[in-house]
């Protein structure tokens, strides 16, 4: 494997290029994805490479954008429908949760919907309440949908390819604060299967399950904890639906302490689900309550000082992990 450093968004973009080259049934639609390459550069060069039959700008019409994807997927194509900011998903929600998610089941298995929805989520850019959300738990709650949240350049490429090859509706949520983050990425086409967690760093004293950009913060926290003699294991589920609970439970049985971190609000977040499943499967192994560190139950605020307080960071992750270790 020939590997080099790419940014997160470049890696994603390379995955798009390669899967479109491989599979003529893959096409891309969305607002300003063609001529402009997407507002986050996610789709740079695709129009030039694959032409306007396969790469199309749309009017501002999220419901129809996803609807085109659902209908075309039901007819056997592999649409990639972009929603720019994750917050705009509300406009398209009926097509996502009532149509795309349910067609396979309610039609008795007669139809598959190999649809991929791409979007960018996450806070930290003073983009305020309608341009900063992390809504993965909302989507993961709907049977029939899959939700991928790449947390490295390697995963950005592997998960978009995995999502497009998957025969189900998958929402791939990039983190817009990670677009410029660099990491090693193989040159050739590869897919990461959905539902396989990544053990980012092994450790013995505490398990930190982190989602999306929080994986970076958790890794920094683990570094700091390591210097104090606390060995933290960092797990990135990669997809929150399906959720690779086995990897998390195995880790919990080893470290006996689990901290879950995400930037979505804590109430009803993915952390609640993970916590519940961990205690159901590893109760006798736990030395401390499974703990969550997540956003307070408020919309994302604009002022930097509020937004910084809102999103968990490495220092607070380390502090929470330390407390779990010191407790027992």
């Amino acid at each position: 494997m020939n590997t080099r450093e790419l940014t997160y968004v470049k890696a994603f973009n390379e995955g798009m290029h390669q899967i479109m080259a491989e599979d003529p049934d893959v096409f891309l639609i969305g607002e300003d994805v063609a001529g402009y390459g997407g507002v986050f550069h996610m789709f740079d060069g695709l129009l030039t490479a694959y032409g306007d039959r396969r790469v199309k700008d749309t009017p501002i019409a999220e419901q129809a954008i996803i609807g085109v994807g659902v209908g075309a997927a039901a007819r056997g194509l592999r649409p990639v429908c972009d929603l720019m900011f994750m917050d705009f998903i509300g406009v398209a929600m009926d097509q996502i949760f009532n149509q795309a998610a349910k067609m396979k089941y309610m039609f008795g298995g007669a139809v598959s919907v190999p649809l991929t929805i791409t979007t960018a989520g996450g806070a930290g850019m003073s983009a305020a309440a309608q341009h900063s959300q992390s809504l993965e738990a909302w989507l993961a709650h709907i049977p029939g949908l899959k939700v991928a949240m790449p947390a490295s350049p390697y995963d950005a490429k592997g998960l978009i390819v995995g999502a497009i090859r998957d025969d189900n509706p998958v929402i791939v949520v990039l983190n817009k604060k990670m677009l410029g983050v660099k990491g090693p990425v193989p040159e050739e086409l590869y897919a990461i299967p959905l539902g396989v967690a990544n053990v980012v760093q092994e450790g013995d004293d505490v398990t930190i399950v982190a989602i999306g950009r929080m994986v970076l913060e958790a890794t920094k926290a683990a570094q700091a904890l390591g210097e104090e003699g606390i060995s933290a294991e960092v797990i990135d589920p990669r997809t929150v639906q399906p959720l690779d609970i086995d990897t998390i439970v195995t880790s919990a049985k080893k470290t006996n302490r689990v901290l879950i971190v995400h930037e979505a609000v804590q109430f009803g977040g993915i952390g609640a689900e993970i916590s519940s499943q961990v205690q159901e499967s590893a109760f006798d192994y736990l030395d401390a309550p499974v703990t969550r560190l997540a956003a307070p139950f408020a919309p994302v605020p604009y002022a930097p000082i509020l937004e910084n307080a809102y999103i968990p960071d490495a220092a607070r992750i380390a502090a929470a992990a330390r407390q779990l270790v010191e407790r027992s």
């Binding site: 402009y36 003073s126 002022a303 509020l306």
Partner: protein, 340 residues
């Protein structure tokens, strides 16, 4: 052609719309526009220099639309706005100090620093909020119009939105419902020719968005959005109609934004011909009004100059106020999630 295709659509303001224009009116429209322009130019620079957080969709070029419409609305009349909302707020009477404070994320801002550029609100002035979701404000405006009709208070609502927003379902659902219920609402489409980086010709088949009124059985009007007096004239007709209980009007103001979709400079990929930008600047709304005012002998150039100078002073004052205002306290982060 237009007569058979769009029987409800009229083009241009009523005849003689600029007759009887007074010095007060010219100065009023001019002041609203100058305040918008200077606010936007300084705000844009402050973000681009890194002094202010966030990102801005600037209204420069489109000032005549906000000024013309707001000049026929009162504080009791409600408006909903867009991501490009500073101009609407300012023309509706919002003050510089809490606006700049909001952009700086300070407690003294219109939203206590919670909302930023895309969420400016001023309930005392009938500014029901900017909106970061394209089309998001349109149904809210018909709700405000519903409240006005329900209470019979004689007020009206106006919703501002772009050409791109008329492709989203919320627009069509709202116009139709307002038409069916004769709601007292103005739908103001600011057609600046682009939705982000996509030209109108690539996102719809119509040249005149006002024709969409025809599908809903309401009047549509096309107006020169660089002519504040013309915008005011058509808005006046629509407000009068709404107040008579005859229902909504769709007004399409043809206008242009001088800066990039977001921020001042940009154009990562050139999507507009620089000659096109220059051609629109030739018809600049503020200059047009200054010419009308002076040529008619209504306003002396020094009166216009005084407005520019006063606005500059007001901006410096507001920026200073914003910078020296306190930051919000993270301990209050859960305040205002619910009404208690």
């Amino acid at each position: 052609m237009t007569e058979t295709l769009a029987p409800n659509v009229t083009y241009g303001p009523p005849e003689g719309y600029a007759a009887g224009v007074t010095r007060e009116l010219v100065l009023d429209l001019h002041r609203r526009m100058v305040r918008i322009r200077m606010f936007e130019e300084s705000a844009g620079k402050l973000v681009e220099s890194g002094d202010m957080p966030g990102f801005l969709h600037l209204y420069v070029g489109q000032e005549a639309v906000a000024a013309g419409v707001m000049s026929v609305l009162d504080d009791v009349d409600q408006i909903t706005s867009t991501h490009r909302g500073h101009g609407h707020a300012i023309a509706k009477g919002a003050e510089f100090r809490p606006m700049f404070a909001e952009l700086y994320g300070k407690t003294t801002g219109y939203c206590k620093g919670r909302g930023g550029s895309m969420h400016i609100v001023d309930m005392n002035r009938g500014m029901l909020g900017a909106n970061a979701i394209v089309g998001g404000g349109i149904p809210i405006a018909i709700g405000a119009a519903f409240a006005a009709q329900y209470r019979g208070d004689g007020s009206v609502a106006a919703s501002f939105f772009g050409d791109g927003a008329t492709n989203i379902g919320a627009f069509h659902e709202s116009v139709n419902m307002a038409a069916v219920w004769d709601l007292p609402v103005l739908f103001i489409c600011e057609n600046n020719g682009y939705a982000e980086f996509t030209a109108q010709g690539n996102h719809m088949r119509l040249d005149d968005i006002a024709e969409r009124a025809n599908s809903y059985g309401i009047p549509g009007v096309v107006v020169d959005g660089m002519d504040a007096l013309a915008v005011r004239a058509v808005a006046k007709v629509a407000v009068d109609r709404a107040k008579r209980g005859e229902g909504p009007t769709l007004i399409e103001a043809k206008t242009y934004r001088y800066f990039d979709h977001q921020g001042i400079k940009g154009m990562r990929i050139p999507y507009r011909d620089p000659a096109e930008v220059e051609a629109w600047k030739e018809r600049d709304a503020i200059r047009l009004l200054e010419v009308i005012g002076t040529e008619r002998g209504l306003v002396r150039p020094e009166d216009f100059a005084a407005t520019w100078a006063q606005t500059e002073t007001d901006i410096a004052d507001a920026i200073e106020f914003a910078r020296s205002s306190p930051d919000p306290d993270p301990a209050d982060i859960l305040d205002d999630v619910y009404t208690v």
